[in-house]
């Protein structure tokens, strides 16, 4: 069991050890959907929601796996539960909000192969968080992901107007921006223990 306070868990996941900029988790959607601000906001909403559900699922699975003493099933059961959750979200979204579904369309299945989600489940298990702690951790990670994605999208929208050298265009420029953002986030390191 881990006795870290809720506020410290939240700040830790959102800022100090930001999933995208410090752990490099969820880089694919980070570069894929960060070209436009609006898509970025929607994507981070979806990821945040899936993270929350995945965290709750992971907590339950872990209890079962520990009860039957089968930790080697952890990776496979996590990924299966998470991908079915994503399917569920996809169906719900198609039903409830077709425009959002169209906008995110191809990215929703990709959340399954989003390392941020599985990473969250694994980290929370490794750190031995309790139930509420796990939820706070997921919320923090989701907030951190959203923050990074939205910041990045804002910069990239401006970058479109700038005169970028031919060789730098596209991924290389995005990578440099991400690197500078990541340096900025290092400033938060003083916040935590």
């Amino acid at each position: 069991m881990n006795d870290q306070g809720y506020w410290s868990i939240f700040l830790n996941a959102a800022l100090i050890n930001n999933f995208v900029l410090a752990y490099f988790l969820g880089i694919c959607p980070f570069f894929g959907v960060s070209a436009k601000l609006e898509t970025a906001v929607r994507m981070s909403g979806a990821v945040g929601f899936v993270m929350l559900v995945a965290s709750v699922c992971a907590f339950g699975i872990n209890l079962v796996l520990e009860a039957i003493n089968a930790p080697y099933l952890r990776i496979i059961s996590y990924i299966l539960v998470i991908s079915s959750t994503v399917q569920l979200v996809e169906m719900l979204m198609r039903k409830l909000s077709p425009p959002t579904f169209r906008a995110l369309g191809i990215f929703l299945p990709l959340i399954t192969t989003n390392c941020a989600i599985l990473g969250l489940a694994l980290f929370q298990t490794n750190k031995g968080y309790g139930f509420t702690q796990a939820i706070v951790y997921a919320l923090g990670a989701g907030a951190g992901f959203a923050l990074a994605l939205v910041l990045m999208a804002g910069v990239r929208e401006k970058l479109d107007l700038a005169d970028v050298p031919e060789l730098f265009k596209g991924t290389a420029a995005a990578l440099v921006v991400a690197g500078i953002l990541s340096m900025g986030f290092m400033g938060f390191a003083g916040l935590g223990r």
Binding site: L21, I27, I75, I76, I117, L122, E166, L167
Partner: protein, 217 residues
Amino acid sequence: MALRQVSPTDEFIKGLWRDNPVFIQVLGMCPALAVSNTAINALAMGLATTFVLLMAGLSVSLLRNFIPREARIVSYICIIATFVTCVDYAIMAISIELHRALGAFIALIVVNCLILGRAEAFASKHKPGRAMLDALGMGVGFTVALFFIGVLREVLGSGTLFGVDLFPDGFQTWTVMVLPSGGFFAMAMWLLVVNWIRQREADAEKRANERAGEVAS
């Protein structure tokens, strides 16, 4: 694949350069950036990924006629997760130190888009031999790319290569290169190099075509 015959060597070579997973397709970036702070970590990660790619490619290709279309992604993920679990425990048995350095990122090979991508796009449509060749090429391409990033980060960031000091005492290490932001910068630098080479290739080809056109006319 009746339209275009691809020789076995091409199947292998394409992963190294033309379709390099990291530098050209920009797939599997998470591990490429996260564990490339030293050359040895990068190499270990690359080899682990190659193994999973190879085994997953083989299994998916062998089972391609048995897996129903609707359930294919889930089946692929199950296959991949099984091999990743093997690799995870194998690395723990070989070197606990390496296992600690790579941390959760070994488990995260499961969600490396590269592996699922190759299973879906290639292995599910080709014979086992071809699938293995393709997987091997992609794996080697991935490992080489990771190794390049790792070398750049370790040499500049710690002034060492495989833990051996490279520079005289006066060398000021670029600490930023071993920090997370260094991963982004190192990757951007290699992308620039790759883009530059590709552009030169394209220019040369264009000039050659123009010359051929002049001769023909």
